[in-house]
Protein backbone atom coordinates (compact mmCIF):
# COMPACT_ATOMS: atom_id res chain seq x y z
CA UNK A 1 0.00 0.00 0.00
CA UNK A 2 1.43 3.35 -1.05
CA UNK A 3 1.55 5.83 1.79
CA UNK A 4 3.56 8.77 3.05
CA UNK A 5 6.59 6.63 3.86
CA UNK A 6 6.90 5.47 0.24
CA UNK A 7 7.45 9.01 -0.99
CA UNK A 8 11.02 10.13 -1.57
CA UNK A 9 12.43 12.76 0.78
CA UNK A 10 12.41 15.42 -1.96
CA UNK A 11 8.66 15.06 -2.47
CA UNK A 12 8.09 15.11 1.27
CA UNK A 13 10.01 18.36 1.45
CA UNK A 14 7.92 19.68 -1.41
CA UNK A 15 4.75 18.86 0.55
CA UNK A 16 6.16 20.41 3.74
CA UNK A 17 6.80 23.64 1.82
CA UNK A 18 3.05 23.83 1.20
CA UNK A 19 2.16 23.40 4.88
CA UNK A 20 1.38 26.18 7.31
CA UNK A 21 3.31 26.59 10.54
CA UNK A 22 1.11 24.57 12.88
CA UNK A 23 0.72 21.71 10.38
CA UNK A 24 4.51 21.57 10.11
CA UNK A 25 4.76 21.30 13.88
CA UNK A 26 2.18 18.49 13.86
CA UNK A 27 3.93 16.61 11.08
CA UNK A 28 7.30 17.05 12.77
CA UNK A 29 5.84 15.51 15.92
CA UNK A 30 4.79 12.27 14.23
CA UNK A 31 8.23 10.65 14.01
CA UNK A 32 11.96 11.37 13.92
CA UNK A 33 12.24 11.09 10.15
CA UNK A 34 9.47 13.62 9.56
CA UNK A 35 11.04 15.94 12.12
CA UNK A 36 14.26 15.87 10.12
CA UNK A 37 12.36 16.57 6.92
CA UNK A 38 10.45 19.47 8.51
CA UNK A 39 13.63 20.91 10.00
CA UNK A 40 15.41 20.69 6.66
CA UNK A 41 12.73 22.76 4.94
CA UNK A 42 12.91 26.51 4.96
CA UNK A 43 10.18 28.12 7.02
CA UNK A 44 8.76 31.49 6.09
CA UNK A 45 6.99 33.50 8.77
CA UNK A 46 5.53 36.79 7.60
CA UNK A 47 5.35 38.39 11.03
CA UNK A 48 7.37 37.60 14.12
CA UNK A 49 8.01 39.68 17.23
CA UNK A 50 11.10 39.11 19.32
CA UNK A 51 11.90 40.41 22.74
CA UNK A 52 14.86 39.88 25.06
CA UNK A 53 15.16 41.49 28.48
CA UNK A 54 16.88 40.50 31.71
CA UNK A 55 17.46 36.90 30.69
CA UNK A 56 13.91 36.43 29.44
CA UNK A 57 13.05 36.07 25.79
CA UNK A 58 9.76 36.33 24.00
CA UNK A 59 8.76 35.16 20.54
CA UNK A 60 5.32 35.89 19.11
CA UNK A 61 4.60 34.31 15.76
CA UNK A 62 1.65 36.00 14.10
CA UNK A 63 -0.26 33.76 11.77
CA UNK A 64 -3.19 36.03 11.12
CA UNK A 65 -5.50 38.50 12.74
CA UNK A 66 -6.07 37.51 16.35
CA UNK A 67 -4.11 34.34 15.65
CA UNK A 68 -0.67 33.90 17.06
CA UNK A 69 1.66 31.57 18.91
CA UNK A 70 3.32 33.12 21.94
CA UNK A 71 6.44 31.55 23.37
CA UNK A 72 8.23 32.88 26.41
CA UNK A 73 11.50 31.50 27.71
CA UNK A 74 13.43 32.18 30.85
CA UNK A 75 17.23 32.14 31.12
CA UNK A 76 17.72 30.37 27.85
CA UNK A 77 19.42 31.49 24.70
CA UNK A 78 19.05 29.39 21.59
CA UNK A 79 20.70 29.99 18.25
CA UNK A 80 18.35 30.64 15.33
CA UNK A 81 19.36 31.45 11.80
CA UNK A 82 17.19 34.27 10.56
CA UNK A 83 16.87 35.72 7.13
CA UNK A 84 15.01 38.92 6.48
CA UNK A 85 12.76 39.11 3.49
CA UNK A 86 12.10 42.68 2.50
CA UNK A 87 8.99 41.78 0.48
CA UNK A 88 6.91 41.80 3.64
CA UNK A 89 7.95 45.21 4.82
CA UNK A 90 5.69 48.17 4.55
CA UNK A 91 6.16 50.16 1.38
CA UNK A 92 5.40 53.89 1.33
CA UNK A 93 4.10 53.61 -2.25
CA UNK A 94 1.08 51.67 -0.98
CA UNK A 95 0.08 54.50 1.33
CA UNK A 96 -3.25 55.94 0.22
CA UNK A 97 -4.13 58.24 3.07
CA UNK A 98 -2.26 59.97 5.87
CA UNK A 99 -3.48 57.60 8.58
CA UNK A 100 -1.23 54.79 7.39
CA UNK A 101 -1.67 51.65 9.46
CA UNK A 102 -4.45 53.26 11.48
CA UNK A 103 -6.75 53.53 8.47
CA UNK A 104 -9.28 50.71 8.36
CA UNK A 105 -9.97 51.08 4.65
CA UNK A 106 -6.58 51.27 2.98
CA UNK A 107 -4.15 49.63 5.43
CA UNK A 108 -3.31 45.96 5.61
CA UNK A 109 -5.89 44.22 7.88
CA UNK A 110 -3.17 42.72 10.03
CA UNK A 111 -1.34 46.04 10.38
CA UNK A 112 -4.59 47.71 11.36
CA UNK A 113 -5.36 45.07 14.00
CA UNK A 114 -1.81 45.20 15.35
CA UNK A 115 -1.66 48.96 15.76
CA UNK A 116 -5.18 49.20 17.11
CA UNK A 117 -4.24 46.76 19.84
CA UNK A 118 -0.91 48.30 20.71
CA UNK A 119 -2.22 50.08 23.86
CA UNK A 120 -3.81 46.87 25.04
CA UNK A 121 -0.53 45.06 24.59
CA UNK A 122 1.27 47.74 26.56
CA UNK A 123 -1.19 47.29 29.39
CA UNK A 124 -0.93 43.51 29.37
CA UNK A 125 2.78 43.18 28.92
CA UNK A 126 4.38 45.77 31.19
CA UNK A 127 7.59 43.75 31.16
CA UNK A 128 8.01 44.19 27.41
CA UNK A 129 7.06 47.85 27.05
CA UNK A 130 10.41 49.57 27.09
CA UNK A 131 9.84 51.00 23.67
CA UNK A 132 7.27 53.49 24.96
CA UNK A 133 8.39 56.43 27.06
CA UNK A 134 6.64 57.42 30.30
CA UNK A 135 4.78 54.15 30.45
CA UNK A 136 5.36 53.90 34.19
CA UNK A 137 3.24 56.93 34.86
CA UNK A 138 0.13 55.96 36.76
CA UNK A 139 -2.16 58.30 34.89
CA UNK A 140 -1.36 56.73 31.55
CA UNK A 141 -1.91 53.29 32.99
CA UNK A 142 -5.26 54.27 34.43
CA UNK A 143 -6.30 55.79 31.15
CA UNK A 144 -5.34 52.62 29.35
CA UNK A 145 -7.31 50.56 31.84
CA UNK A 146 -10.39 52.66 31.36
CA UNK A 147 -10.13 52.42 27.60
CA UNK A 148 -9.62 48.69 27.90
CA UNK A 149 -12.74 48.24 30.01
CA UNK A 150 -14.78 50.29 27.58
CA UNK A 151 -13.47 48.35 24.63
CA UNK A 152 -14.03 45.01 26.31
CA UNK A 153 -17.68 45.88 26.97
CA UNK A 154 -18.16 46.71 23.32
CA UNK A 155 -16.48 43.49 22.32
CA UNK A 156 -18.69 41.43 24.61
CA UNK A 157 -21.76 43.05 23.14
CA UNK A 158 -20.54 42.32 19.64
CA UNK A 159 -19.57 38.75 20.50
CA UNK A 160 -23.00 38.07 21.97
CA UNK A 161 -24.53 39.02 18.62
CA UNK A 162 -22.21 36.74 16.68
CA UNK A 163 -23.22 33.14 17.03
CA UNK A 164 -20.61 31.36 14.93
CA UNK A 165 -17.23 31.79 16.52
CA UNK A 166 -14.19 30.92 14.46
CA UNK A 167 -11.63 29.01 16.43
CA UNK A 168 -8.00 30.03 16.37
CA UNK A 169 -5.99 28.95 13.43
CA UNK A 170 -3.73 25.98 13.76
CA UNK A 171 -5.40 24.53 16.80
CA UNK A 172 -7.78 21.69 16.86
CA UNK A 173 -11.42 22.54 17.19
CA UNK A 174 -13.27 20.49 19.73
CA UNK A 175 -16.93 20.46 18.79
CA UNK A 176 -18.25 19.78 22.26
CA UNK A 177 -16.26 22.64 23.75
CA UNK A 178 -16.96 25.11 21.01
CA UNK A 179 -20.65 24.52 20.63
CA UNK A 180 -21.86 23.70 24.10
CA UNK A 181 -18.97 24.66 26.31
CA UNK A 182 -18.44 28.01 24.63
CA UNK A 183 -21.84 29.22 25.73
CA UNK A 184 -21.25 28.16 29.32
CA UNK A 185 -17.82 29.73 29.31
CA UNK A 186 -19.27 32.93 27.98
CA UNK A 187 -21.89 33.03 30.68
CA UNK A 188 -19.28 32.42 33.38
CA UNK A 189 -17.04 35.06 31.87
CA UNK A 190 -19.87 37.55 31.78
CA UNK A 191 -20.67 36.86 35.43
CA UNK A 192 -17.04 37.29 36.36
CA UNK A 193 -16.76 40.44 34.32
CA UNK A 194 -19.58 42.01 36.29
CA UNK A 195 -17.59 41.48 39.47
CA UNK A 196 -14.04 42.21 38.27
CA UNK A 197 -14.26 44.12 35.01
CA UNK A 198 -10.63 45.18 34.71
CA UNK A 199 -8.73 42.18 35.93
CA UNK A 200 -10.42 39.69 33.67
CA UNK A 201 -8.47 38.37 30.67
CA UNK A 202 -5.20 39.69 32.01
CA UNK A 203 -3.40 36.43 31.36
CA UNK A 204 -4.14 36.53 27.64
CA UNK A 205 -1.76 39.32 27.09
CA UNK A 206 -1.77 39.30 23.30
CA UNK A 207 -5.36 38.41 22.65
CA UNK A 208 -8.06 40.99 22.47
CA UNK A 209 -11.11 39.14 21.23
CA UNK A 210 -11.84 35.55 22.02
CA UNK A 211 -8.92 34.09 23.99
CA UNK A 212 -6.64 31.52 22.36
CA UNK A 213 -7.51 27.89 22.89
CA UNK A 214 -3.88 26.99 23.54
CA UNK A 215 -1.02 29.29 24.39
CA UNK A 216 2.45 27.93 24.96
CA UNK A 217 3.36 30.24 27.77
CA UNK A 218 6.09 29.01 30.00
CA UNK A 219 5.47 31.59 32.66
CA UNK A 220 3.40 34.71 33.12
CA UNK A 221 4.73 38.20 33.56
CA UNK A 222 5.78 38.78 37.15
CA UNK A 223 4.16 42.20 37.13
CA UNK A 224 0.77 40.59 36.87
CA UNK A 225 1.26 39.02 40.28
CA UNK A 226 -0.01 42.14 42.02
CA UNK A 227 -3.23 41.87 40.12
CA UNK A 228 -3.56 38.20 40.87
CA UNK A 229 -3.28 38.95 44.61
CA UNK A 230 -6.24 41.27 44.30
CA UNK A 231 -8.19 38.52 42.65
CA UNK A 232 -7.31 36.12 45.47
CA UNK A 233 -8.51 38.61 48.06
CA UNK A 234 -11.81 38.94 46.28
CA UNK A 235 -12.10 35.19 46.13
CA UNK A 236 -11.46 34.95 49.85
CA UNK A 237 -14.25 37.40 50.62
CA UNK A 238 -16.66 35.34 48.61
CA UNK A 239 -15.54 32.22 50.51
CA UNK A 240 -17.07 33.50 53.78
CA UNK A 241 -20.53 32.68 52.68
CA UNK A 242 -19.90 29.15 51.55
CA UNK A 243 -21.52 26.27 53.54
CA UNK A 244 -18.11 24.68 54.08
CA UNK A 245 -16.95 27.80 55.85
CA UNK A 246 -20.02 27.81 58.10
CA UNK A 247 -19.50 24.15 58.88
CA UNK A 248 -15.85 24.53 59.88
CA UNK A 249 -16.06 27.84 61.73
CA UNK A 250 -19.42 27.59 63.52
CA UNK A 251 -20.62 24.02 63.77
CA UNK A 252 -17.32 22.23 64.29
CA UNK A 253 -16.34 24.07 67.57
CA UNK A 254 -19.84 23.54 68.95
CA UNK A 255 -19.59 19.85 68.21
CA UNK A 256 -16.17 19.58 69.87
CA UNK A 257 -17.28 21.47 72.97
CA UNK A 258 -20.32 19.20 73.21
CA UNK A 259 -18.09 16.13 73.11
CA UNK A 260 -15.87 17.57 75.85
CA UNK A 261 -18.96 18.37 77.88
CA UNK A 262 -20.15 14.80 77.63
CA UNK A 263 -16.70 13.52 78.65
CA UNK A 264 -16.46 15.77 81.75
CA UNK A 265 -19.89 14.95 83.26
CA UNK A 266 -19.63 12.36 86.11
CA UNK A 267 -21.36 9.05 85.50
CA UNK A 268 -24.75 8.62 87.05
CA UNK A 269 -24.61 7.39 90.66
CA UNK A 270 -25.45 3.73 91.00
CA UNK A 271 -26.44 2.00 94.23
CA UNK A 272 -23.45 0.38 95.92
CA UNK A 273 -23.89 -3.36 95.76
CA UNK A 274 -20.99 -4.23 98.12
CA UNK A 275 -22.76 -2.77 101.16
CA UNK A 276 -25.70 -5.06 100.82
Amino acid sequence: MTCWNYLPAEIKQHVVKKLDFMSRVSLGSTCRLNRQIVNSTKLELPRVRFGYKKGRSLIVIYTGIEKFLRLEFGNSIFPVNLERNTDYFWKPSTLKCGLGSFCKQCSDPFEYWYYQNLPRRVLHEPFWTDFILNIDQKLIREELRMNYVKDEREKIQKASKKKNLVSSWGFRRDGSINEEGQGKKKRIRKKKKKKIPILENFKDSEDVGEPEVVSYEIFEDSENLEDSEDVEEQKQTSDYMTPRFILTVVLFPILISFIFYLGDTPPATTPDTTDS
Partner: protein, 179 residues
Protein backbone atom coordinates in the same frame (compact mmCIF):
# COMPACT_ATOMS: atom_id res chain seq x y z
CA UNK B 1 8.40 -0.74 -30.83
CA UNK B 2 6.00 -3.61 -31.31
CA UNK B 3 3.73 -3.36 -28.32
CA UNK B 4 0.28 -4.63 -29.19
CA UNK B 5 -2.35 -2.85 -27.12
CA UNK B 6 -4.99 -5.19 -25.69
CA UNK B 7 -7.36 -2.48 -24.60
CA UNK B 8 -8.99 -0.12 -27.10
CA UNK B 9 -7.50 3.34 -27.43
CA UNK B 10 -8.78 5.85 -24.88
CA UNK B 11 -9.41 9.25 -26.39
CA UNK B 12 -9.29 11.48 -23.36
CA UNK B 13 -10.07 14.84 -24.87
CA UNK B 14 -10.84 16.05 -28.32
CA UNK B 15 -7.88 17.82 -29.81
CA UNK B 16 -8.95 20.95 -31.62
CA UNK B 17 -6.14 22.74 -33.35
CA UNK B 18 -2.94 20.84 -32.89
CA UNK B 19 -2.63 18.02 -35.37
CA UNK B 20 0.50 16.48 -33.76
CA UNK B 21 -0.53 13.61 -31.49
CA UNK B 22 1.50 11.12 -29.49
CA UNK B 23 0.57 7.73 -28.13
CA UNK B 24 1.50 6.68 -24.63
CA UNK B 25 1.16 3.14 -23.29
CA UNK B 26 0.79 2.67 -19.54
CA UNK B 27 2.15 -0.25 -17.51
CA UNK B 28 -1.16 -2.12 -17.85
CA UNK B 29 -1.23 -1.62 -21.64
CA UNK B 30 -3.75 1.18 -21.78
CA UNK B 31 -3.11 3.49 -24.73
CA UNK B 32 -3.58 7.23 -24.44
CA UNK B 33 -3.43 9.92 -27.08
CA UNK B 34 -1.95 13.22 -26.05
CA UNK B 35 -1.33 16.43 -27.96
CA UNK B 36 2.07 18.04 -28.43
CA UNK B 37 1.32 21.04 -26.25
CA UNK B 38 0.08 18.81 -23.45
CA UNK B 39 3.03 16.43 -23.57
CA UNK B 40 5.41 19.37 -23.22
CA UNK B 41 4.26 19.77 -19.61
CA UNK B 42 6.02 16.49 -18.82
CA UNK B 43 9.74 17.03 -19.01
CA UNK B 44 10.50 13.31 -19.06
CA UNK B 45 8.12 12.56 -21.93
CA UNK B 46 9.20 15.57 -23.96
CA UNK B 47 12.88 14.67 -23.56
CA UNK B 48 12.04 11.14 -24.65
CA UNK B 49 10.16 12.38 -27.72
CA UNK B 50 12.96 14.70 -28.79
CA UNK B 51 15.61 12.03 -28.20
CA UNK B 52 13.65 9.45 -30.19
CA UNK B 53 13.18 11.98 -32.97
CA UNK B 54 9.43 11.51 -33.24
CA UNK B 55 7.78 13.81 -35.76
CA UNK B 56 4.21 14.58 -36.80
CA UNK B 57 4.38 11.81 -39.42
CA UNK B 58 5.67 8.93 -37.32
CA UNK B 59 4.36 9.95 -33.88
CA UNK B 60 1.22 7.79 -33.89
CA UNK B 61 3.06 4.77 -35.27
CA UNK B 62 5.54 4.76 -32.40
CA UNK B 63 3.75 4.61 -29.04
CA UNK B 64 5.82 5.58 -25.98
CA UNK B 65 5.78 2.93 -23.25
CA UNK B 66 5.74 4.23 -19.67
CA UNK B 67 6.37 1.26 -17.41
CA UNK B 68 6.15 3.04 -14.06
CA UNK B 69 2.67 4.51 -14.44
CA UNK B 70 -0.58 2.55 -14.49
CA UNK B 71 -3.60 3.35 -16.66
CA UNK B 72 -5.63 5.08 -13.97
CA UNK B 73 -2.88 7.51 -13.06
CA UNK B 74 -1.97 8.06 -16.69
CA UNK B 75 -5.56 8.98 -17.47
CA UNK B 76 -5.53 11.62 -14.71
CA UNK B 77 -2.18 12.93 -15.92
CA UNK B 78 -3.33 13.17 -19.55
CA UNK B 79 -6.53 14.92 -18.50
CA UNK B 80 -4.54 17.39 -16.44
CA UNK B 81 -2.02 18.08 -19.20
CA UNK B 82 -4.73 18.59 -21.82
CA UNK B 83 -6.54 20.97 -19.51
CA UNK B 84 -3.49 23.08 -18.70
CA UNK B 85 -1.62 22.91 -22.01
CA UNK B 86 -2.28 26.56 -22.91
CA UNK B 87 -1.86 27.94 -19.40
CA UNK B 88 0.41 30.86 -18.80
CA UNK B 89 3.14 30.71 -16.22
CA UNK B 90 1.86 31.23 -12.69
CA UNK B 91 2.82 34.48 -10.98
CA UNK B 92 5.37 34.41 -8.19
CA UNK B 93 3.64 34.40 -4.85
CA UNK B 94 5.07 36.26 -1.87
CA UNK B 95 3.15 33.91 0.40
CA UNK B 96 2.24 30.77 -1.51
CA UNK B 97 0.24 29.16 1.30
CA UNK B 98 -2.09 32.12 1.66
CA UNK B 99 -2.31 33.46 -1.89
CA UNK B 100 -2.51 30.33 -3.99
CA UNK B 101 -6.00 28.90 -4.47
CA UNK B 102 -6.37 25.49 -6.09
CA UNK B 103 -8.79 25.71 -9.06
CA UNK B 104 -12.07 23.89 -8.59
CA UNK B 105 -11.62 21.65 -11.65
CA UNK B 106 -8.25 20.44 -10.36
CA UNK B 107 -9.59 19.96 -6.86
CA UNK B 108 -12.27 17.66 -8.25
CA UNK B 109 -9.75 15.81 -10.39
CA UNK B 110 -7.54 15.22 -7.39
CA UNK B 111 -10.31 14.28 -4.99
CA UNK B 112 -9.27 10.64 -4.96
CA UNK B 113 -8.37 8.36 -2.07
CA UNK B 114 -5.04 8.76 -0.34
CA UNK B 115 -3.35 5.71 -1.79
CA UNK B 116 -4.19 6.74 -5.35
CA UNK B 117 -3.02 10.26 -4.62
CA UNK B 118 0.34 9.06 -3.35
CA UNK B 119 0.68 6.83 -6.42
CA UNK B 120 -0.20 9.80 -8.62
CA UNK B 121 2.50 11.87 -6.92
CA UNK B 122 5.07 9.15 -7.61
CA UNK B 123 3.95 9.02 -11.26
CA UNK B 124 4.07 12.80 -11.51
CA UNK B 125 7.53 12.81 -10.02
CA UNK B 126 8.65 10.22 -12.59
CA UNK B 127 7.15 12.15 -15.51
CA UNK B 128 8.40 15.45 -14.04
CA UNK B 129 5.24 17.55 -14.31
CA UNK B 130 5.91 20.49 -12.03
CA UNK B 131 2.44 21.98 -12.03
CA UNK B 132 0.67 18.74 -11.20
CA UNK B 133 3.26 18.07 -8.51
CA UNK B 134 2.53 21.45 -6.95
CA UNK B 135 -1.20 20.79 -7.02
CA UNK B 136 -0.88 17.28 -5.56
CA UNK B 137 1.39 18.55 -2.79
CA UNK B 138 -1.11 21.25 -2.07
CA UNK B 139 -3.92 18.70 -1.76
CA UNK B 140 -1.79 16.56 0.56
CA UNK B 141 -0.87 19.68 2.52
CA UNK B 142 -4.54 20.60 2.89
CA UNK B 143 -5.19 17.18 4.38
CA UNK B 144 -2.78 18.02 7.20
CA UNK B 145 -4.42 21.30 8.08
CA UNK B 146 -5.51 21.62 11.73
CA UNK B 147 -4.67 17.99 12.45
CA UNK B 148 -2.94 16.55 15.48
CA UNK B 149 0.11 14.27 15.08
CA UNK B 150 -2.05 11.23 15.90
CA UNK B 151 -4.55 12.14 13.21
CA UNK B 152 -1.74 12.71 10.72
CA UNK B 153 -0.36 9.26 11.49
CA UNK B 154 -3.70 7.75 10.50
CA UNK B 155 -4.21 9.92 7.41
CA UNK B 156 -0.71 9.52 6.01
CA UNK B 157 -0.09 6.02 7.40
CA UNK B 158 3.01 7.11 9.32
CA UNK B 159 4.38 4.53 11.78
CA UNK B 160 5.58 5.62 15.22
CA UNK B 161 9.25 5.67 16.17
CA UNK B 162 8.78 2.48 18.21
CA UNK B 163 7.23 0.69 15.23
CA UNK B 164 10.03 1.95 13.01
CA UNK B 165 12.65 0.66 15.42
CA UNK B 166 10.90 -2.71 15.68
CA UNK B 167 10.84 -3.00 11.89
CA UNK B 168 14.52 -2.13 11.67
CA UNK B 169 15.37 -4.67 14.35
CA UNK B 170 13.38 -7.43 12.64
CA UNK B 171 15.02 -6.56 9.31
CA UNK B 172 18.50 -6.75 10.83
CA UNK B 173 17.71 -10.01 12.71
CA UNK B 174 16.32 -11.79 9.67
CA UNK B 175 18.92 -13.78 7.71
CA UNK B 176 20.07 -12.13 4.53
CA UNK B 177 19.95 -13.70 1.07
CA UNK B 178 22.05 -16.84 0.97
CA UNK B 179 24.53 -16.70 -1.71
Amino acid sequence: MSVEPEVPIVQVEEVRENPVLYKIISSDNHVFTISEHAVKLSKTLWDLITNLGLTAENALDNPIPVENVNGKNMETIVQFCERHKYDEEEPEYTNYIREFVLPEWDRQLLSIDNEELFQLILATNYLDIQKLMDYCCRVIGDMAKDKTPEELRIIYGIPTDAEDDALERSASDSPGPSG
